[in-house]
């Protein structure tokens, strides 16, 4: 009797009274509503304030189209570059031991903590008219700053760690046993990577790619410094939003912004799907795995 009472008390001790629970839920949800749901809703309402026709009209504008194309182009270059880097960096950091590994991992993370404005500035100092190799570039008629290459470079910088960062802990947790087994059975390095490593890391890879892509398409500060804001030429979507907004073309600004907000929502949906798939795979793997010998 007294045993079951203690147990009940113990169970009750790991949660709170109902009113406390519901108050905490209410406060947390209000916070989420105010800070996340309202801004997201505001984007779409402001975009549709003058009706669907005005909204579509704003998106049909040639400058808006140039901005969309430039944003897609930038992401299409920056994401694959950082993908190749991410896989290479994760391979050497997760699968081997070497001196300076911890320091290298810190350096990979560095772009995350650098202000985007500073990131843009460093490229201006390198390639700008008064920069280190600016005069040489000018003499050879190569434009990097205030042109597309600068925008791509700045985007590559700010999205640099995304994929590496997802893959390193994942590959470290998986160890090297499966790869070693494949090599012993006669697989080449590439075969091992394609048929053993890649299937193991695929969800982490997708996760990193979509987050990297969202940031690449949405980057503002770094791109703003190197772009020069030439309308119809070097404006990405976020920069185009700024220009329209500053010209008091609110509906047009929010119309372009709504596309970026849709991208964000899509990113969150894919991300949730990937997390769900990953958990499912983990569960299946856990069921298949033999019982570990010791705790």
């Amino acid at each position: 009797m007294s045993n079951s009472r203690t147990l009940r008390r113990a169970k009750a001790g790991t949660t709170e009274p109902t009113w406390v629970r519901w108050t905490l839920i209410a406060v947390a949800l209000s916070f989420i509503f105010l800070f996340l749901v309202l801004p997201l809703a505001a984007v779409f309402t402001e975009a549709l304030r003058k009706g669907i026709d005005a909204y579509l009209e704003a998106l049909k504008e040639p400058d808006a189209w140039t901005a969309i194309r430039l944003t897609l182009l930038t992401a299409a270059i920056a994401v694959p570059l950082n993908l190749v880097f991410g896989v290479a960096a994760a391979w050497c950091i997760a699968k081997y031991e070497f001196p300076g590994k911890a320091f290298l991992t810190t350096l990979v993370d560095l772009p995350f903590s650098v202000s985007p404005v500073v990131a843009g500035l460093v490229y201006v100092l390198l390639f700008g008219a008064h920069g280190w190799i600016g005069p040489w570039l000018q003499a050879h008629d190569i434009k990097i700053i205030f042109a597309v290459p600068g925008i791509v470079l700045a985007t590559v910088f700010v999205t640099f760690p995304f994929i590496a960062r997802e893959l390193i802990p994942l590959m470290q947790a998986q160890g090297t046993e499966e790869e070693q087994a494949a090599m012993v059975l006669g697989a080449t390095g590439w075969q091992t990577f394609w048929h053993v490593t890649l299937p193991n890391i695929k969800w982490g890879l997708v996760y990193g790619v979509i987050l990297c892509n969202a940031r690449a398409m949405g980057e503002f500060g770094a791109v703003s410094v190197v772009s020069g804001h030439i309308r119809g030429q070097t404006n990405t979507m976020p920069l185009h939003v700024e220009i329209l907004y500053n010209e008091y073309q609110s509906v047009a600004a929010f119309a372009v912004a709504s596309l970026l907000a849709l991208l964000a929502v899509l990113t969150l949906v894919i991300k949730s799907f990937v997390e769900w798939q990953f958990e499912r795979d983990q569960k299946v793997a856990a069921e298949l795995a033999p019982e570990p010998a010791g705790g």
Partner: protein
């Protein structure tokens, strides 16, 4: 730190005996490390060193004038002050949101959980204009506050709000996994020994999530200090009053004051690097803490 990572790997117990063959069996070490170092140097290290070398072309006096003029100092105070307040708010509400998501069942939980990452996915410029539209005098929230004479847009309040938005996921996402792994048996034991629910939280739960909370705080703070896109729309950008440090750099650049912009940027870069090391140390502490518990 390396030791902490190693101890989580399977077969770590056998230690050095296993490490040696690993290096020889798996191919590709030289090429992947080589490419990593090459790409890292090209994209990150060489450009950042350009920044540092540019500062060396300044005399000490020029540097000091650039980084310590009253307008710049006012911007540091604002940037660090607002980031600190925002990160603090995020610690409180981030813990609350993480707690509710891990401990209580309620309808729509999965959607809320996914929504927490919105600030990572939503471009900062979009966040900036959306928050401004909400908080301006004719906005949904702003018009409710007009009778009380509270203004949240185009002043320092707006900056703090934008920075809370930007830093929101950091604390939730660092605390959430720790709460999920926490062993309920410990709390049950505390209750059986006569602890009240509050005492259990204060002395059993809180110490185990404290490192994660601190890490989340540092990450939110670091992100807020460098933030530009969301802030400039809502700040009003008055010199000495609501002008953040990244905007000072942009302003100097637009006046072709490259040296001045560089000097301020170096100060920010030094700060970012310090914070990065602090966050690394905090994470190592957290790993040791959770390693010791299990």
């Amino acid at each position: 730190m390396t030791a902490a990572i190693l101890s989580t790997l399977p077969g770590a117990a056998t230690g050095t005996v296993r490490k040696r063959p690993t290096r020889h069996v798996l191919p590709g070490f030289n090429i992947t490390l080589g490419f990593t170092l090459f790409y890292l140097s090209l994209i990150v290290l060489i450009p950042l060193s350009a920044l540092v070398f540019k500062t060396f072309t300044l005399t000490w006096e020029q540097f000091w004038v650039a980084v310590a003029s009253p307008r710049v100092v006012a911007s540091y105070q604002l940037t660090f002050g607002a980031s600190f307040i925002a990160a603090l708010v995020n610690v409180v509400f981030g813990l609350l949101v993480a707690w509710v998501l891990v401990r209580y069942p309620f309808p729509g939980k999965k959607i809320i959980d996914a929504l927490v990452d919105l600030p990572f996915a939503l471009p900062t410029a979009v966040a900036g204009i959306a928050l401004t539209a909400l908080l301006a005098d004719n906005g949904w929230v702003g018009q409710l506050l007009v009778p009380f004479d509270i203004k949240l847009a185009f002043n320092r309040n707006g900056i703090v709000i934008a920075l809370i938005f930007i830093g929101l996921p950091f604390v939730v996402r660092t605390v959430q996994p720790v709460l999920e792994d926490a062993e309920k048996e410990l709390e049950e034991a505390a209750t059986c020994l006569g602890a009240s629910r509050w005492q259990t939280f204060r002395y059993v739960v809180f110490p185990s999530i404290a490192p994660a909370l601190l890490t989340g705080f540092a990450m939110a703070f670091a992100r807020a200090v460098g933030e530009y896109g969301s802030v400039i729309f809502i700040a009003g950008n008055m010199p000495m009053v609501s002008e953040i440090t990244p905007l000072i750099i942009i302003g100097k650049l637009e006046q072709y004051d490259y040296a001045g912009a560089t000097a301020v940027a170096v100060v920010m870069l030094g700060f970012s690097f310090t914070l990065l090391l602090v966050i690394n140390a905090l994470q190592a502490w957290q790993r040791r803490r959770s390693g010791a518990q299990s």
